[in-house]
């Protein structure tokens, strides 16, 4: 079976034709760079996304601190991850790149700050 997948790795948005047998990718065409191959395999076999959101900072003039997972997480875990993010409160100063939660939801990724608190 051939599936069309739009690569989201860069702004070009290459449309890839992906040959799929069962749940495995067997052939990829249409990608302009090697990242497309990686993306297509992940998108068919185990789709993931980097999750970005904000957490509430208490006692700072900047009310929200933006955060992201340092690596992509399975798409299926995003709802659960958002629920957890809503529970977090930051009360200590953070710097950009600081880990807010280590091994977030036991997914093997860290939740990191993408802006300093102020």
């Amino acid at each position: 079976m051939i599936r069309k997948v739009t690569c989201i790795d860069c702004p070009k948005g290459c449309v890839l034709s992906v040959g799929v047998e069962g749940r495995k990718v067997v052939k990829i065409t249409g990608n302009e760079c090697p990242k497309g191959e990686e993306y297509a395999v992940s998108e068919i076999e185990d789709p993931t996304r980097i999750l970005t959101s904000t957490v509430l900072a208490e006692g700072f003039s900047l009310r929200m601190v933006p955060v992201r997972t340092d690596r992509p997480i399975p798409k299926g875990d995003i709802k659960r991850a958002m629920k957890e993010i809503k529970r977090i409160r930051i009360s200590e100063p953070v710097r950009i790149g600081d880990i807010i939660i280590e091994d977030f939801l036991r997914l093997g990724v860290d939740l990191i700050a993408t802006r300093e608190s102020r």
């Binding site: 790795d9 702004p11 948005g13 980097i50 970005t52 933006p66 992201r68 802006r115």
Partner: protein
């Protein structure tokens, strides 16, 4: 009268890249004016990833991308940053008047770079009929409310237009537990990047209605409902093809306009259609030594291109100042 070698208006990606480039090209007296209380401009509210692939060969969020430039500016004492400084008047000889809390200041620039960005088109500019209830936001304003202020502007949204900010806000609403009923686009295809259609709309099963426009907004105090109608290739309504969506929020994402009232005030020759300066060459204007860069020169798709081209503005200003001596 205070005179400065180089004044830059706007501390977003364009102004920051121009300031650093001017500094690296030997300009030693730079004043960077920013109206907000921090540098970074629109990047601060763009918390999603996708920035920096071309410029840094890395995937960054907006605040992370901005931070790289902010650090460089902090380490350059030749760049004086004046925050909460809002320019209200610009004259042909490059004299600027700006307000800071409590004072009106003026400064004459030997060279001037305007990096004032752009603003969003509004509901009024696309002529949507109906009432004028609360609940109608430009997509970028909704983005600021959620990502900076921590306020969710609505529970059930319809998005007018498929610009990138609208698509990104569709995802943001869904992640925040709100519902996005539809994205309604008058053109036959998306105005935004394909990747945003995939990860912001398709990921969340949000229906996109191409060749449709919002025909009417209903509601007294708050938006209650909208109707949309199918249009033909010339954007004329096709009667009888109306659909309705119950919603409390309408986000408008139908394009951006360069913010150039100041250079127009100074007498720079303008293209009235695009609201950008008439120019044969990147970043130049009809006034010598007055440069425009970033989204106020032309609206770019990605910030990486803004940084790349604004570096050139910084270099041009440095060359101009060298030639003055």
């Amino acid at each position: 009268m205070i005179e400065r070698d180089l004044v830059i208006v706007g501390g977003g990606p364009a102004g920051m890249a121009a300031a650093i480039a001017a500094h690296e090209n030997g300009v030693e007296d730079i004043l960077l004016l920013e109206r907000d209380h921090c540098l970074g401009g629109i990047l601060n509210q763009c918390i999603h990833t996708g920035f920096g692939i071309e410029y840094f060969k890395e995937v960054l969020t907006g605040p992370e991308y901005a931070h790289r430039f902010i650090e460089k500016i902090r380490s350059a004492p030749q760049i004086e940053v004046s925050l909460r400084s809002f320019v209200v008047r610009l004259e042909e000889d490059k004299r600027l008047f700006f307000i800071k809390p409590g004072v009106l200041e003026n400064v004459k620039a030997r060279a001037l770079i305007m990096a004032t960005g752009c603003r969003e088109k509004t509901r009024e500019m696309i002529h949507i009929a109906g009432t004028r209830p609360s609940g109608i936001f430009s997509a970028g304003l909704a983005q600021k409310l959620i990502n900076i202020e921590g306020l969710l502007p609505g529970r059930k949204a319809v998005i007018a237009g498929s610009g990138d900010i609208g698509l990104i806000m569709a995802r943001r609403f869904m992640l925040e537990g709100a519902e996005v009923k539809a994205v309604i686009e008058i053109q036959k295809e998306t105005r935004g990047l394909l990747r945003n259609v995939v990860q912001c709309v398709e990921d969340f099963d949000i229906p996109v209605y191409f060749n449709h426009r919002i025909s009417k907004i209903y509601g007294k105090e708050r938006v209650e409902k909208i109707s949309a109608v199918r249009v033909d290739g010339d954007f004329n309504d096709i009667p009888g093809a109306e659909i309705e969506f119950e919603c409390d929020t309408v986000l408008i994402s139908v394009g951006l306009i360069p913010e150039n009232e100041l250079i127009e005030m100074a007498g720079v020759r303008m293209d009235k259609k695009t609201n950008s300066p008439v120019s044969k060459e990147l970043n130049r204007t009809s006034i010598p030594g007055l440069f425009v860069c970033g989204n106020s020169f032309k609206v770019y798709d990605i910030v990486d291109s803004v940084s790349r081209d604004s570096v050139i503005a910084g270099r041009l200003a440095a060359e101009y100042l060298r030639a003055l001596r």
